[in-house]
């Protein structure tokens, strides 16, 4: 057995500090308030939202799209970096896996919040029709959820076994749980072979499944006639947007976890520099598709397209549109292209802006289009011409975001955020390499 003492000392889960307790309990309070609001929505109906017959989808849907997009980080950081053998990923992958799992789990819940008849959920299976993009979603989301869970769980097995022995005397109950979850991991060659093969298969799967998930999400919109959605550009546009949202979320969470757990020795400026470059790449690709989506329709200037683009560029949605475009896209590119911009703290600020802008970006995609139908909006109350979320919608949506953060927090609390075993292996490798050199 290798000596994990130093690593365990640094990386083994520790109890929450004062800040951790405050953070976690605030999340729980937000979630409870959200659940109360949701129960009220169940009783009164979706009349408690500000959605109406024209703005028929609102932040429940844009929040869902945000979660789906964020879950793409597992496909990008874990799968692509692994398949391209980028070894700097090691201290980052577990957090990416955790974000992926939390985001896709919450995406599934969020879409059900938007359903006005959740009591008829089973109809989706009993009367399923394959031609509906919603049925594709019903198939792909559980699939991605299962794969992202395995992607988190399989690499975790050796660490769980290590933690089992680590906590044997100090916390026997906790140790017992780690033991059960480690599935009798002994670290034998046979077990390692199975594990590495399984991980390889999952990694190979999460890439196409992730791409399909983002694509179907885009098709929910582009299979309609609506101006602003009816675009063949939409799937790659969504995929690249998910790339941005996912990496942005990863940078933000990693910065916070690094501070909270004092992991500066493991997650260094070097890693932030690498992640910064990845985010620039993501933003540049996304910028390309944004140009396709917003500037090319300007060229032919069809009347419907112009009405839509006018509200975005200079109309009612202009402040939001320019915030998500400049703040969430242009500024990150400019800042992160310089080496100074890729230091941890500026990266954290940029990451935070990217995440917030990603959330509002989905709002800008969903809402304005619905308020510009083909026939004029007439014969309905004046308030139906606009949409801004109601208190219920904000409370419920905040609760889903808090729930995602709570899942991440709990996992970070009980699971080593940096793979102990793999770090040890890599350190050993590094040492032996040095020995050979000298």
């Amino acid at each position: 057995m290798k000596n994990y003492d130093k690593l365990l000392n640094d990386l083994a889960p520790t109890k929450f500090g004062k800040l951790g307790v405050i953070w976690t309990s605030s999340l729980i309070v937000i979630i409870i308030i959200g659940i109360i609001a949701y129960i009220d929505q169940l009783i009164k109906g979706q009349v408690v939202t500000n959605m109406r017959d024209y703005a028929l989808w609102g932040i429940y849907i844009s929040n869902f799209v945000f979660f789906v997009a964020t879950s793409f980080v597992g496909s990008v950081v874990v799968a692509i970096l692994r398949l391209t053998k980028n070894s700097w990923r090691t201290p980052l992958v577990r957090i990416a896996e955790i974000i992926t799992f939390a985001a896709i789990a919450m995406a599934g819940i969020t879409i059900m919040i938007d359903m006005a008849r959740p009591d008829r959920l089973l109809n989706l299976f009993i009367y399923a029709r394959l031609q509906s993009p919603i049925t594709w979603d019903v198939i792909i989301i559980p699939t991605f959820l299962a794969i992202s869970f395995l992607l988190l769980y399989f690499p975790l097995l050796p660490d769980l076994a290590i933690l089992k022995s680590h906590f044997k005397e100090k916390q026997p109950t906790l140790s017992k749980w780690y033991g059960i979850l480690s599935l009798n991991w002994t670290g034998s060659a046979a077990q390692k072979a199975i594990q590495s093969k399984s991980i390889h298969i999952i990694v190979l799967m999460i890439l196409p499944v992730g791409l399909i998930l983002q694509t179907i999400d885009a098709w929910l919109f582009s299979t309609t006639y609506r101006i602003g959605w009816d675009s063949t550009n939409f799937a790659p546009y969504f995929i690249s947007g998910a790339f941005v949202a996912g990496v942005g979320a990863l940078i933000t969470v990693i910065y916070v976890v690094r501070r909270a757990k004092k992991l500066e020795d493991y997650i260094t400026d070097f890693h932030f520099d690498k992640m910064g470059k990845l985010l620039v790449l993501a933003c540049l690709v996304y910028l390309y598709f944004n140009i396709n989506e917003y500037l090319i329709p300007l060229f032919t200037a069809k009347k419907g397209e112009m009405t839509h683009l006018d509200t975005l560029f200079s109309g009612h949605y202009a402040p939001l549109f320019w915030f998500v475009t400049i703040g969430g896209l242009i500024v990150p590119i400019i800042v992160l292209l310089s080496k100074k911009g890729r230091k941890p703290f500026p990266m954290f600020i940029i990451g935070l802006i990217v995440v917030v802008a990603s959330w509002w970006k989905r709002y800008v995609i969903v809402t304005p289009t619905l308020l510009h139908p083909f026939l004029p909006i007439q014969g309905v109350p004046e308030s139906w011409h606009h949409y801004f979320p109601s208190l219920h919608e904000w409370l419920i949506t905040s609760a889903t975001l808090a729930m995602a953060l709570l899942i991440i927090t709990v996992l970070v609390r009980f699971v080593p955020v940096i793979p102990i075993e793999r770090t040890a292996d890599e350190q050993e490798e590094l040492k032996s390499n040095k020995n050979i050199e000298s």
Binding site: G45, L56, A116, T224
Partner: protein, 329 residues
């Protein structure tokens, strides 16, 4: 060996029985035919009727032979629709002056109590230089309905008789159909519909079906599900026209059957194809390929003033509130 024997015996018995049955049926059939033939020669009234066959030739038939064809058979699969029918509507924009009787009648007959009527009369003007006109819209009952394509549970469905209906007992309230419909015709029950009096009517009226049917939308409306114009199959079944058609004082709406090639507004009955040809009928957003069942005649040679309709026009209301519902709000 034994098995084989048994098998062949069974076969023999089987064949024998079938043969016997066939003979009996044949014999019965022949006698019936014979009696009918003799009867016919006996009871001929001598009164002849002139009729036209489907290919246009005139024939003479004895009046006793004429039997009325049942046009609206009462039992058919609700999801399949009325057999051998294809319902269409023609809306003559030249006659519409926004009297809104259609909307009021529709709201009443479908117990619409929300804020968004299913039948709208739009104030239209394509561009500054073109003339404004009034345009009533119902559900377009498309032959390539976008709403049906995206429905994940088959709650909204297309029938062979052309109707697009909604099963409010199956709808999950995802509103994808509303996002898909380019005509913004679908309406959502955001809260429990305030239709208090309907449940009473449903209990009292014995000839009305006491259980829910997609063939009378709004009876009742269901919270968290989608509603829209249903082309009134409940009226068609009783050989009546949809409520909007009969309510219109200006004869704007023509309803009929494409297979019969006739449409009527209750006062005049016209050849469907001829009407479209003579008055340059068109459909809304033809370019989308939705193939609507509702046709429009352009607002030319108008008998009515556009301005007359402005009196009735309400920008922000399409369902009149009763005093009761206003109080409860």
């Amino acid at each position: 060996m034994k098995n084989n024997n048994e098998n062949s015996r069974r076969k023999f018995l089987d064949k024998g029985l079938k043969l016997g049955l066939a003979t009996t049926i044949g014999a019965v059939g022949l006698t019936k035919l014979a009696t009918k033939l003799t009867a016919q020669t006996d009871t001929q009234s001598g009164e002849k009727m002139e009729l036209m066959t489907t290919d246009g030739t005139l024939i003479e038939v004895d009046s006793t032979e004429v039997i009325e064809v049942e046009h609206s058979p009462k039992d058919y699969n609700i999801r399949e629709g009325m057999p051998n029918r294809k319902f269409v509507m023609v809306i003559d924009l030249a006659k519409c002056k926004n009297a809104l009787k259609c909307q009021k009648s529709c709201n009443k007959s479908h117990y619409i109590t929300g804020d968004n009527a299913w039948l709208k009369v739009y104030k239209m003007q394509e561009s500054k230089e073109t003339a404004p006109y009034w345009m009533p819209t119902t559900c377009q009952h498309c032959d390539q309905p976008a709403c049906v394509t995206v429905c994940p549970v088959d709650a909204t469905f297309k029938r062979k008789d052309g109707l697009v209906l909604i099963d409010n007992e199956r709808c999950i309230g995802c509103r994808f159909c509303m996002a898909a419909c380019p005509y913004s015709t679908r309406v959502f029950n955001w809260s429990e519909p305030d239709q208090g009096e309907i449940t009473m009517t449903m209990d009292m009226e014995m000839d009305e079906p006491t259980h829910y049917s997609p063939e009378h939308a709004g009876l009742p409306s269901v919270k968290g599900t989608v509603d829209k114009c249903d082309f009134c199959p409940h009226a068609i079944k009783e050989n009546e026209l949809p409520h909007c058609v009969t309510a219109c004082p200006n004869g704007v709406f023509y309803f009929g059957d494409q297979y019969e090639d006739t449409v009527t507004n209750g006062e005049e009955t016209l050849r469907f194809r001829e009407l479209l040809k003579n008055k340059s009928g068109y459909r809304l957003m033809e370019g989308l390929g939705t193939e609507p069942s509702v046709y429009y005649l352009p607002p030319v040679d108008r008998l009515v003033n556009f301005e007359d309709g402005l009196e009735e026009f309400t920008e922000f209301q399409s369902v009149e509130k009763t005093e009761e519902s206003e109080k409860s709000e």
